[in-house]
Every structure is written in structure tokens, then in C-alpha cells.
Amino acid sequence: MNEPVRFSQVNIGDALPPLTMPPISRLTLALYCGASGDHNPLHVDQDFAREAGLGDVIAHGMLIMAYLGRTLTNWVPQPAIQTFGTRFLAMTRVGDAVTCTARITDKLAAAHAVRVTVEARDQRGELKAAGDALIALPA
């Protein structure tokens, strides 16, 4: 992030550097449970998840969103990010390896901002989460 990304230098369709995470393990979920403070047992307690009809634990949607967020802050400093939203579309399970991609889908000249859409897919290409961010850039 040495050279700042400039509004004049980016184009609709440009891709941000993607981010591929190692497969999600039960340890990944346990660490996220503790660090995030989201102690919902659905994410770490297999008995509870089975009882809830999900078969096994599922990853926190917010873990996937945090991965997506990293693609943004790997590209621009965090204060540039004005909004960031995600819809959670499919459950992410133990063993899934998530790849996050992001690309510019709009340039808003008056605001010197770009709209970036983000997607998280697993190793089979299944879409887990999708959303967008509004990012202000220097001229």
C-alpha cells in the first residue's frame, strides 16, 4: 500500500488482488468464537448444531465478511471505506476454503468514490457471501 490508489487511475471492471484462505478448521471457528465474542454454539458445538438440524457446525457469517473486508484494506487504507455490506447466501462448513474476490463496478465522479463488489466462494465455486463497498479515493 505504498502508492495510494487514485480515482483517476482505476477503471470499472478492475479487479482487486484476491484473497484465498486456508480451509476452515474447527480451530479456525474456535479462535473466531473467542476473538469475536460471538459465542453462538451453532459455530463450535457439534451437538448443538446437529440438534438445530444443521448436521454440523457452520462458520460465522461474520468470519467470511472479515475475510472480504481484508481484500478492501489490503487495497486502500481503512478510512477510505465509506460503507461495506454483505449478504450471507450459503453456509460455510469445516473444510471449505474461501476465496474472496472484489472488483470495481462503478465510478462516482462527483464523490471521487468507487463501488466495489465483493464475493466469497468456496473451493467448488459456491457463492457463500456477496456484497459491496463504497470507497472514496484521492483524485
Binding site: 473466531y32 476473538a35 469475536s36 453462538n40 460465522h60 461474520m62 450471507f88
Partner: protein, 147 residues
């Protein structure tokens, strides 16, 4: 079915202290490699007073309430049936370790889909810092499965 009269239901305001160690733990848990989020010295050199709160961690801080699922009971929501459907943040300024953030949460919408098989709960949070400056807002949409 959740009573639509509960639109407007406000949780007790919650104040959370942003702790540096916790931010570092979170950064590791999400596989963060950017030293800005891990190393205080790097953050200071980049002009930050301390480690910055990353984009999604505001959601996590709000869950540090003494009873984060207490409002589920008040609304009659059964935890095992709940999934996170959507999450939206709007940012105004950064927060850092050492800040004290206040969360004001209100239920702003309740609706159904698939003839009531899916219920949606929309909760809006407003976050202000110890200087009474608006830091961010976030909207959490929960889906309750009745299938």
C-alpha cells in the same frame, strides 16, 4: 410470529472498551497479515494513536453485552433457528484501542417471506465514541427458520 409491535424495541445502551490485546487476537483469528492491525508501532508510524478497530469488529464489540442474546428472549426468538442473513456498515471515523464506544440498538423492521416460513429481524446500531462523535452505524438482518 414476532409481534410487529416490537418494531422500535431498543436494547439497553451498551458501552464497550476497545482493548488492544483483543484487537490483536481478532486480527489473528481472521488471518490478518497487515501489520497495521497487529503491531502497535506500525500503527503509530502510520499516524494512528493505537491499533485501529477493523471494519467488522464493531459487530463483535456489540456482542460483548453481558447477555448478548437477551433481546432474543424478549422477542421470543429461538436461538437455534437463527441465521445471519445480511450485515451492513456505514463508517464515519476510525476507532482505536483505548476508545470507549457506545452502542444504541433498535429493532427497525420485522417481516416474513415464504408464507411465514422465514421471519426477518432488522436491528440498527448507532456507535458513538467517548467524545460523543458518531463512529459508525450497522444494520444486522437475522433470519429465523420455521422450516
Amino acid at each position: 410470529m414476532i409481534d410487529r409491535k416490537l418494531i422500535g424495541y431498543a436494547s439497553k445502551p451498551f458501552v464497550a472498551d476497545v482493548e488492544r490485546g483483543r484487537l490483536r487476537f481478532f486480527a489473528r483469528a481472521i488471518g490478518e497479515t497487515n501489520p497495521l492491525y497487529l503491531d502497535e508501532e506500525t500503527a503509530r508510524c502510520a499516524g494512528h494513536p493505537d491499533l485501529p478497530v477493523p471494519q467488522t469488529f464493531f459487530f463483535c464489540l456489540e456482542m460483548d453485552r453481558p447477555d448478548p442474546y437477551g433481546w432474543f428472549d424478549d422477542l421470543g426468538i429461538d436461538l437455534p433457528k437463527v441465521l445471519h442473513g445480511e450485515q451492513q456498515f456505514t463508517y464515519h471515523r476510525l476507532a482505536h484501542a483505548g476508545d470507549r464506544l457506545r452502542f444504541d440498538a433498535t429493532i427497525t423492521d420485522l417481516y416474513n417471506k415464504k408464507g411465514g416460513l422465514l421471519e426477518f429481524v432488522v436491528q440498527d446500531n448507532v456507535i458513538t465514541n467517548q467524545r460523543a462523535e458518531r463512529v459508525a452505524e450497522f444494520r444486522r438482518t437475522l433470519v429465523i427458520r420455521h422450516e
